[in-house]
Amino acid sequence: MVEVRLENLKKYFDKGRVKAVDGIDLTIKDGEFLVLLGPSGCGKTTTLRMISGLELPTDGKIYFGDKDVTYLPPKDRNISMVFQSYAVWPHMKVYDNIAFPLKIKKYPKDEIDKRVKWVAELLQIEELLDRYPAQLSGGQRQRVAVARAIVVEPDVLLMDEPLSNLDAKLRVMMRAEIKKLQTKLKVTTVYVTHDQVEAMTMGDRIAVMKQGKLLQVGPPAEVYLKPNSIFVATFIGAPEMNLLDVTVKEDEKGLILEGESFEIPLPEDFTPLLKDYVNKTVIMGIRPEHLIVEGISEILHVKRRAKIEGVVDFVEALGTDTIVHAKVGEKIIKIKLAGNVNVPIREKIKIIVDLDTMHIFDKQNEKAII
């Protein structure tokens, strides 16, 4: 178990034309479950492969504890990896697949046997040990891959979208199981995914990546509640955060956010934050689950509120939630209401905005102001 430190890590392909990873500084604490989250092509897998040693960085350093491992071959790093395709060797039985890393490291035979049995029990694959991978289902193969990865008790466990090939139900189950396993083994883990739900539920911290750069690193709640940019704000959460262009105006009472068909007067404490933006357009962001409809739903603890008028355009009834699409001016705002709520279409509603969960972003650099 070690701390993993990446210093200004870069990977360029095609003579610098493609900047897959473009200067990443990140410390993964000892025993931490860190999720690298981002859309495909953002460089998260490349980062993982550099930590594993399968890919060598163009520039920068990788440390495991105090040891510089930047150019060390994978076999000398004491790492394990769960691949997206599982990469369970088809010519070996399950037992041999799991025992293989131990055999290479020259463990005594009875020790190997003991460990394979231990890990097989842990992952409930005891009865599969003398089968070939071709005789297993996707979920079972996944378990074998995880078993093989933890049997050696690695310093660092790397997972590259391990759940993306499973069906939805199995994915939810394995999500919890992998997280529990990691908590039990306390192994430093880097987990790559493009699924924000996986990231939120599994990670101790989430590192959001975009175009080779780290945008925000923090615990799930922080990334969710205090996104530092529009990209992070919209990538996490479903349905996506509502974004509206508003202009900051000033009158005798204080600042006002002026939208297409609404005005939101702001309390005094917003003034210092927004004073540079007076008469400029900013982007207001608010999550669908932080909105309420007057007379239909209520969220407790809303201290400061503002009202926006809208017309119901469409309703998605999901059973557990109801998502109301309301037309405000020309824009559609989505409101997520808990439970099955009956909202008639084309009815005029008053949407209540909780000012303390509202985000405001700079329109130019898309960074968060509030």
């Binding site: 040693g53 399968l54 071959p73 990896m81 691949f83 990469a87 010519h91």
Partner: protein
């Protein structure tokens, strides 16, 4: 016509087709085998299509007195040498083409195949001169090298497609779990590629076994089977040999190759009892 008759007719057509294809290959083999052992009296009797009296005399004569047995041994040695050399050179090349990106990859691939466009007779005289200088003339190694030159392009292309079929992640998993790149190749990729490599070996073996021109030109006392048979049939016995000798020779030529392919095929299918994917 109802569906049942349609189905029956389809089945009939299908099996007729299969029968014709099989007969196309098997009938000549049966005829050659029958006539190889036919007594000359039966063979020349216009009233008998299938001979009734058999003798192993001619097969024996060719094998023992006319040097075919020695030639079979030469052929096996040459074919195995060809496989060994062309695999030693071809596997790394095939692997590189399958797994790495490097400049002029397609040009290299194309030029490998283009080498086979040169007609061998054009190269025969320079090749003989070169072999005399290198002291390779009339040696089994010499023939094997020439056969390697002919087989290598195909070995490279076949092995590259085999290695491309083995997922890179499997090999990377080997490296992550403690193997070197070479170790991972030897313990993960190679075993998985084995059925395909066996097919490539089979191809190389059959090519070397059948090749007659280069073998005839480059050797005199260490002839491979086709070269030896050719010289027996066409000249050294003083004029063309009688027909039943030819059939006996054909039988000797085909039998070992058939046996080899038969066993290699079985090995191919039963490899893991499963397909790779």
């Amino acid at each position: 016509m109802n569906d049942e008759t349609k189905y029956m007719l389809k089945q009939l057509a299908f099996y007729t087709f299969i029968f014709v294809v099989v007969a196309w290959i098997v009938v000549p083999l049966i005829v050659a085998t029958l006539y190889a052992f036919a007594a000359p009296k039966d063979y020349y009797d216009p009233n008998k299509v299938i001979p009734l009296h058999f003798t192993a005399k001619y097969v024996k004569t060719i094998l023992i007195h006319l040097g075919a047995w020695e030639a079979i041994k030469n052929s096996v040695v040459v074919a195995l040498l060809t496989i060994a050399i062309s695999f030693t050179l071809g596997i790394p090349a095939g692997y590189a083409i399958a797994k790495f990106i490097f400049p002029a990859k397609d040009t290299i691939k194309l030029s490998i195949v283009a080498l086979r466009m040169f007609p061998i007779p054009v190269m025969a005289i320079p090749l003989v001169i070169l072999y005399i200088r290198l002291n390779l003339i009339d040696t089994r190694l010499g023939v094997a090298l020439a056969h390697t030159a002919m087989a290598l392009p195909f070995v490279v292309l076949i092995t590259s497609s085999i290695f491309a079929g083995v997922a890179t992640e499997l090999e990377e998993a080997g490296m992550v779990f403690g193997l070197t790149r070479l170790g991972s190749f030897l313990k993960i990729t190679l075993p998985l590629a084995l059925p395909g490599l066996a097919a490539a070996a089979m191809f190389t073996f059959v090519m070397s076994w059948n090749e007659v021109f280069v073998a005839s030109v480059l050797t005199l006392s260490h002839r491979t089977l086709p070269a030896q048979i050719l010289s027996i049939m066409a000249g050294s016995s003083g004029g063309a040999a009688p027909d039943y000798y030819k059939f006996a020779a054909a039988f000797i030529m085909t039998l070992p190759a058939m046996l080899f392919v038969f066993f290699a095929r079985k090995y191919l299918i039963t490899m893991w009892g499963i397909s790779l994917k």
